[in-house]
């Protein structure tokens, strides 16, 4: 009656939990991705890498389920009508970051690129930078839900990591094409480097949206 259901607050609590879980998935993905990359550098497509890549896949599919659940909860329980579109867009953007992690991990598994020793340090640096960017994006997104005042601070961190990853991406790509590897190998590595850097770009897009939502919602 009167559109106010007794379960109103419990519905909100569950939704809060689901959104928190969605954030956790990005962090898990980032950690497993770093681990998987290290395994790949050492063992290439080994059983260990397969397991690590599988873990990322599982997280990605759980994140998809979570996204769908959040969407249906928002509409079925008529929660936060004013904020619904923004939250949905945010959740979709977060999901895109997770998808990108999974896609890159899978690409390593399928394509088995040969990463020469001399480029491994830079590649590792790039992976760490994009993971840091995604992790800061999670903190920024959590801040949007709990503490508007800090959203800006965390967004600066994301922009910084993204910028750094761009620099590493450009340097690494230049190194690859300056080398005397075969062109096919160069193109394959270049494409993979681009895909890794895309994780940071997706995180940056997500933070751009969060900043707009914050301006809209700030009292």
């Amino acid at each position: 009656m009167f559109g106010i259901k007794s379960s109103m607050f419990s519905g909100t609590r569950e939704l809060e939990q689901k959104i928190d879980e969605m954030h956790d998935k990005v962090l898990e993905c980032s950690l497993y991705f770093k681990e998987a990359f290290e395994i790949y550098l050492k063992e290439k497509r080994s059983a260990n890498y397969r397991r690590a890549s599988k873990k990322i896949k599982n997280i990605e599919s759980k994140a998809d389920d979570l996204r769908r659940e959040i969407e249906s909860r928002l509409y079925i329980h008529n929660l936060i009508p004013d904020l619904r579109a923004d939250v949905l867009l945010l959740v979709e953007n977060i999901d895109k970051v997770i998808n990108e992690f999974d896609e890159v991990a899978h690409k390593f598994y399928i394509e088995q690129p040969e990463i020469p020793e001399k480029y491994q340090a830079k590649f590792r640096l790039l992976v760490n930078q994009v993971c840091e960017c995604a992790e800061n994006m999670v903190i920024c997104s959590r801040a949007f839900f709990r503490d508007f005042a800090t959203v800006r601070d965390y967004s600066r961190k994301v922009y910084f990591s993204e910028h750094e990853s761009d620099k590493t991406w450009a340097a690494l790509k230049q190194d690859v094409f300056d080398s005397d590897m075969e062109l096919a190998h160069k193109i394959q590595l270049s494409s993979l480097i681009g895909e890794v850097a895309d994780v940071a770009d997706k995180a940056e897009d997500c933070v751009d949206a969060i900043l707009i939502f914050t301006i809209k919602r700030d009292i």
């Binding site: 009167f2 559109g3 106010i4 109103m8 607050f9 909100t12 609590r13 939704l15 809060e16 959104i19 929660l79 936060i80 009508p81 004013d82 904020l83 939250v87 949007f144 839900f145 709990r146 503490d147 005042a149 809209k216 919602r217 700030d218 009292i219």
Partner: protein, 351 residues
């Protein structure tokens, strides 16, 4: 009761209906506009509370209007209410928000002029002062609430979704308080001029409560306001929407609360007596405009946020409407009373 009385009262009821249709947007327009609450739900709550406010707390402000000019003939009261309603209608057609409080005061002064009665300038000065004080006070209350809410939200670290749900509840409660305050403060505008010629008798409600004759009159007026809320306010809300300023739900809550507090301060006899007993400064019980209170609150918040979002041209237009409304109502009333008395042979005032 004669049928003619109902006919004469119809102008007051029409004014009440338009008050309900227009002023409801101030109380819950933003809540409905932001889809935080269903129109049907909030309109029903507002309709109930507007009636309660009018019947149980409406007497304070009507005494002030009586002091300004006791319209002592039924046909005169009819024309006073009709002139106010017409001036509100014309100014609204020009796309300017207007206040029934100002229109009715202008119309009463028009009647005073026509009837050759002395306008109580002390009361008039008090009313004018209140019109300035109302938006100012509402702005101050809004600024205090704005900083309090901001601090509270920051300290609590509440999840945005939970904050949204609480805001939704807050909007419903504040709409109820706002509607009560609107009924208490503005019922005098609707049927206040009929008090002197009121033919209703007191009404016994079981063995618990007796409604006085004036309360029965206020009840009639309040029903008209409630009908206005239920039947036409949705159209007004969808037309006006969030034109004044794009507000977050929390800001909408602050605006509605400020308006409700200010309207209650200017209408609650209990509060007035309590403040007087405790040697605190009291405010005159005068019908004030909910539109003025809302605009005062919005300007207050706008200034608190740095003053960049305020459209001063629109505000200038609104203030022009506030000045025009009483003058237009006074002129319409004076001219119409002449016609009513000389063409229709009606007694518009008693010597």
């Amino acid at each position: 009761m004669e049928l003619s009385y109902l006919f004469f009262l119809s102008s007051g009821l029409f004014l009440g209906w338009s008050l309900g249709a227009n002023d409801a947007a101030n109380i819950f327009g933003t809540a409905v506009g932001s889809k935080m609450v269903r129109f049907r739900t909030i309109a029903l709550i507002a309709a109930i509370f507007v009636v309660l406010g009018a019947v149980f707390s409406g007497s304070g402000t009507s005494e002030t209007l009586e002091n300004l000019g006791a319209v002592n003939a039924l046909a005169g009261a009819f024309m006073v209410a009709l002139s106010a309603a017409l001036s509100v209608y014309f100014i609204l057609r020009m796309g300017i928000t207007v206040s029934t409080s100002q229109a009715i005061v202008g119309a009463i002064i028009g009647w005073n002029f026509y009837a050759g009665k002395q306008t109580n300038y002390e009361t008039l000065a008090q009313i004018f002062a209140t019109w300035t004080l109302c938006p100012l006070l509402s702005g101050i209350v809004a600024v205090i609430l704005y900083f309090t809410f901001k601090k509270l939200i920051k300290c609590c670290g509440m999840h945005l979704l939970r904050l949204d749900q609480l805001t939704r509840c807050g909007l419903i409660v504040s709409a109820a308080i706002g509607a009560y305050a609107l009924g208490a403060n503005n019922i005098a505008n609707v049927v206040g001029v009929f008090v002197s010629s009121n033919p209703f008798k007191s009404l016994q409600l079981g063995s618990f409560y007796t409604l006085s004759a004036i309360q029965v009159l206020f009840f009639m007026g309040a029903i008209a306001v409630a009908v206005g809320i239920m039947t036409y306010s949705k159209k007004v809300i969808s037309r006006l929407g969030n034109n004044l300023m794009r507000m977050s739900p929390v800001l909408a809550l602050i605006v509605v609360l400020s308006q409700a507090i200010v309207l209650l301060l200017f209408s609650s006899v209990i509060l007035h007596d309590w403040l007087a007993q405790n040697h605190l400064p009291t405010l005159p019980l005068v019908p004030v405009s909910s539109t003025q209170a809302v605009i005062g609150a919005i300007i207050g918040i706008g200034l608190a946020k740095g003053g960049r979002n305020i459209d001063w041209r629109t505000i200038g237009k609104i203030i022009t409407g506030w000045v025009t409304a009483p003058i237009l109502a006074m002129i319409i009333c004076f001219v119409s009373l002449f016609f009513l008395a000389n063409v229709f042979n009606q007694t518009v005032y008693l010597p």
